[in-house]
Subunit: 153 residues, 3 copies
Amino acid sequence: MADPLKDLDLPEPPAPVGAYERGMVHGGIGFLSGQFPLRDGKLVHIGRVGSELTEAEGRQAAEIAALNAIAGIRALLEGDLSCLASLLRVDGYVASAEGFERQPWVLDGASEAFRRMLGDRGRHARAAFAVPCLPLNAPVELVVTFGVSGKRA
Amino acid sequence: MADPLKDLDLPEPPAPVGAYERGMVHGGIGFLSGQFPLRDGKLVHIGRVGSELTEAEGRQAAEIAALNAIAGIRALLEGDLSCLASLLRVDGYVASAEGFERQPWVLDGASEAFRRMLGDRGRHARAAFAVPCLPLNAPVELVVTFGVSGKRA
Amino acid sequence: MADPLKDLDLPEPPAPVGAYERGMVHGGIGFLSGQFPLRDGKLVHIGRVGSELTEAEGRQAAEIAALNAIAGIRALLEGDLSCLASLLRVDGYVASAEGFERQPWVLDGASEAFRRMLGDRGRHARAAFAVPCLPLNAPVELVVTFGVSGKRA
C-alpha cells in the first residue's frame, strides 16, 4: 500500500539563515532547525501576538511554521516521509505582548496541522514559551524533534 | 530485588493543556511535554520570581514541577518507572523579575527533587533560562528528556 | 590514522553551577548542559547584545561558549573526542537589547567555531532565540545535543 504521506502538498522548505544545517539525524532521532512562518522567503506575519498581531493571526503563523517543518523534515529525509516514524517533541515559542498568556491556543494551530497532515505520526509532546521577540521579528518559532525509522535512521 | 522506584508516592500527573501528548518515546529516548507547578489542576504559585514570588517560593514551584515530571514519566511508561534508565536533560525556564539572576538556585529545587526521588537515575544535564513570563503566568516550566530501557524503549 | 580531533587545543571546561551534571549520554545521543562564555571561571562579556555589548562582542561570546561546549563534550567522553559522531542541534540564546534582531549573525560565531574545530563533525541544526536576560547576566547561552558512536554510545 502506498504511504499516505507520499504525495503531501507542501511548500518549498525555507533555507537556513546562517552557518548551520536544515537538520540532522542520528540514532533514529531527527533534529530540525528552528522553523518560522515563512512563505516564499518572507514572513507571513511580523511582530508580537496580542499587540501587532491578533491571536488568530498568531495561530495562523504557527500553522504555516508547522507546514514548513514538515517540508523541512521531508527534504532532510531526501523526499521520503515514509521514514518518519513520528514527531517527538515540538518546542513552540510565541513572541507575546505583555500580559498575553494564550500561547497554548496559538500553538494548537501548529499541533492540529501536524495531526491533520501526518495523522498518527503527527502526535507529539509539546512545550510552550512566551518570548518578547524572536529572530527576524517573527511571531512564532517551532523547534521540532522527530523519530526516524528504516534506512535513514 | 524490587525496584526502589516501584512505590514512589507521586501526584496525579497533570493533563496536556492543548492538542498534544503527555510525552513520546522513540529509540530509547523519551520526550516529556512542558511541566508546570500544578497541583490538583491549579498553579501553586503565579507570577515572576523576584517580584510577585520570593526566591524560596520559586524554588518550591520548581520542586512541584519536578514531581509532576516524574509522575508524567511514570504515566507515559504505563506505571512502570523501572524502565526509566535515567533523566538526560532538564531545560528549566524561570519567569523572572528584571534584574533577577539566581535562576540556577531556583532550579536546584527541581534538580534536588529529581535526585532525592530517583537516586542515580535522577542525574541530568541542565540548562537554565530567564523569561519575562510563561504560559498560564506560571513561575517555572521544566522540559525533561529522559532515557528508556527494556521493553518500552 | 590518528583522529584529527585528538590534540585539539581547548580551554578547561567550566563546572556546572548547580545540582546537575556536565552532560549525559544515552542511546547514542549526548545532552550537554547549557554553556556560557566563561574563561577561567569568569564571563568574558556581560550584558545584552545591542546595548551593553556590540554585535561583534556578542559574536565573540558565542565563539567562546562554543569552545567551552567542545571542551565539555570531550570531558564527558573521558577525553576521547573520537567517539563524537557529530553535533546534532545547537539551541542558541542571545540576551538582546530591545529591537535587536541579528541573533543569527551573533550565533554564527559559534556555528563557525564548531565547523572550524570539528570539521564535518561540527555540522549541526540550529535554533536561535532572543531573551531579555540569561543566568549570570551572560550575553549568550548554548544548549548542545550531539551524537556518540562506538563504546561510549
